[in-house]
Amino acid sequence: MAFRRTVLSMALGAGLALGSSMALAQKGETVKIAWIDALTGLTAATGQNQLKGFQFLAEQFSKSNPAGVKFEITSFDNKLSPQETVNALQAAIDQGVRYVAQGTGTGPATAIIDFLNKYNERNPGKEVLFLNYAAVDPSLTNEKCSFWHFRLDADTSMKMEALTTFMKDQPDVKKVYLINQNYAHGHQVAKYAKENLARKRPDVQIVGEDLTPLAQTRDFAPYIAKIKASGADTIITGNWSSDLTLLVKAANDGGLNAKFYTYYAPVSGTPTAMGANAAGRVYAVGVMPYEAPAARKLMDEYKAKFNDDFYTAQIYNAYALLTAAMAKAKSTDPVKVAATLGGLEVKSLGGDVQMRKTDHQLQQAVFISRWEKAGPKPYDYSVENTGFNFRTVKTFEPYVASTPTSCQMKRPAGL
């Protein structure tokens, strides 16, 4: 009798153990993410900042997350070159990495997508999933869309949709000047700005347009003189890194009092150059909700740890989505996770976000913020210790910024 009971309880225990291990097969597993971006060159500061962001959040999410997995980040410097990116990706795959994260530059992002499309087809059972946290070329979720690619940022067309919807209600916007970097991203910002403004504010005049060489211009004073001569009251720019920093600095020096509508004013280095002169005149469009308590908590902890600023909400999106998908799929296998991610809805820093199944473009709220002097809570944060910060002036719900897609996604059989 005693024997039978023991057997029974043993069987029961084994059954339970089996059941629970099946339910949480992924629990305790370590998920390795290869971070591939520039750690040297002109965009190095941004790369360092975002790598620290990935490591910082890996630590936080490893403590507790719905899937019970641990995260480990391996970093690779791609020097912004697509070729180096592919080499790094190959090296990462050889180390057994199944998840790759990249953000700066459409060239490297496209290289990863092309590589993975081939690699994943030829190596069933070893598939790799790509988390694109900042490359905003709309084509990546349109004609080049891939089952293995997930964009966590809002793309250029979405950001411009939000930015122009905001500008529509700004009566002081009358003459717009477009100054952008002479490569894919800059061309797209200019193109969408013109299209959207023609649609929403046909009275607005585009008084000038310039394309500057990428990350080479030291002296923006001639451009500022040109903008002044054009009589522009508003400038739209997708510039980032030194190209925005120096533009803003030259504008301050040249006494140009126009408003700046930017994509990347919060990125490392630029806030310092803006300083007090730019207060109230520089706007930024992005997906970072600066005053949301969850975001602010991260910003404070990040600052305490690195004396640097956390401005990349997309990194949080990456972990929130991955852990939710792994818990739901009960697996860390990229194929299952990719299939689960499509259509998945999670809570992120600025509210609910949904990974659109048709093109893998994250649908999320987009925020317009303005450079202002730090004030009472929750506006007391000091960016780059300048005593100023970005203050959210308008929140656009996901449906406002959403743009249609032409993606015809090729999915693996059965998914």
Partner: protein
């Protein structure tokens, strides 16, 4: 008119900063036959040293101390490294300065980090140096500092345009001109200047006369680096102090030295101003070859042969103009505008 004036001033000030850099480079080249690849790195060091020093002792002492420090480092490098490889010929000398530029870059990144420094100009150099006022009724006017708001406001009688010229750039021009004059006086009016000039062409004869030529070389290398450092301090506050600042100016100063003529100080001056203007003025012209053809009565339509090339505006082509000039000079006048030696 006021915009043209501001543009010319922008170009001239950019050119004068280039001159501060290239004068040192060309001096070193003419004396030692060494093309110092690390020259722009000394420019960057000047900015970073001044940044750190200005936090301790203020901007104005840093403006003096940082170039001296950079000059001392340059002299030390010449004494300990360059002089040793001198006997192996010019290629090792070139390579060692090339290597040094990477060492400096990595050290700067290690010490100061990768992001840009918050290095604002001192109180005196903030804001505009003068305002150019253009009025329909009264023509062109100038006012020191920022012009009062009422003088810039358009009235019923006249439309006013005000353009400011930043104090940092004005300071840049003053410093460069001051440097030009003192350098010229030093080289032509002093004993050491005469020794340097003689050592340029007849080093062995000067040595035979009992002058310590290696020490003169060290002095010239150090001074060249100090000039680059001084340019760095001014460039650092005017533009931005960050690890890529050396790379950005690095290629253009070689263009200046080649266009002006290797080893010619006057050539470096002319070429600096020329390239400063060439980098600035074309940016304001949004006309392309299509416009030119149209004004000559030849309509070029999209789809025609060569349209993609012809539609490029002068503003878009501006960044390549200095390099285009470099190629043309090398083909048609290899010794440079005012150079004396061939090739």
């Amino acid at each position: 008119m006021d915009q043209l004036l501001i543009n010319v001033l922008n170009g001239v000030s950019a050119g004068l900063l280039l001159f501060m850099l290239s004068s040192g480079l060309t001096l070193i080249f003419s004396m030692m036959g060494v093309l110092n690849f690390a020259h722009a790195s000394f420019y960057m060091l000047g900015a970073y040293f001044a940044y750190s020093l200005s936090r301790a002792v203020g901007f104005w002492p840093a403006l003096v101390l940082a170039p001296l420090l950079v000059g001392a480092m340059g002299a030390f490098f010449e004494r300990t490294a360059l002089r040793r490889v001198h006997k192996f010929g010019h290629v090792p000398e070139l390579l060692i300065t090339f290597g040094l530029s990477f060492v400096i870059l990595e050290l700067v990144k290690l010490i100061w980090g990768l992001s840009s420094m918050n290095f604002p100009p001192p109180e005196l150099l903030q804001g505009p140096a003068f305002t150019v006022m253009q009025s329909d009724a009264h023509g062109l006017g100038l006012a020191w500092g920022a012009a009062p708001a009422d003088r810039c406001a358009s009235t019923a009688a006249a439309v006013m345009h005000c353009s400011t010229f930043p104090a940092t750039r004005f300071f840049m021009m003053v410093m460069a001109l001051f440097m030009l004059v003192s350098l010229w006086l030093l080289l032509t009016r002093t004993r050491i200047g005469l020794v340097i000039q003689a050592a340029l062409t007849h080093a062995e004869a000067v040595e035979a006369l009992g002058h310590n030529v290696p020490r003169v070389f060290m002095l010239v290398f150090g001074s060249g680096c100090a000039l680059a450092g001084l340019a760095g301090v001014i460039g650092g506050v005017t533009f931005v102090t960050e690890p890529s600042m050396a790379t950005i100016v690095g290629s253009i100063i070689f263009v200046v030295v080649v266009v002006g003529g290797m080893g010619s100080l006057a050539g470096a001056f002319v070429a600096s101003i020329l390239i400063g203007l060439l980098q600035t003025l074309p940016l304001t012209v949004d006309k392309s070859l299509v416009h030119l053809a149209a004004s000559l009565g030849w309509a070029v339509a999209p789809g025609d042969l060569g349209y993609p090339l012809m539609k490029i505006t002068l503003a878009q082509a501006a960044p390549i103009l200095p390099y285009l000039l470099l190629v043309l000079i090398l083909i048609f006048r290899p010794k440079g505008l005012l150079g004396t030696r061939e090739g």
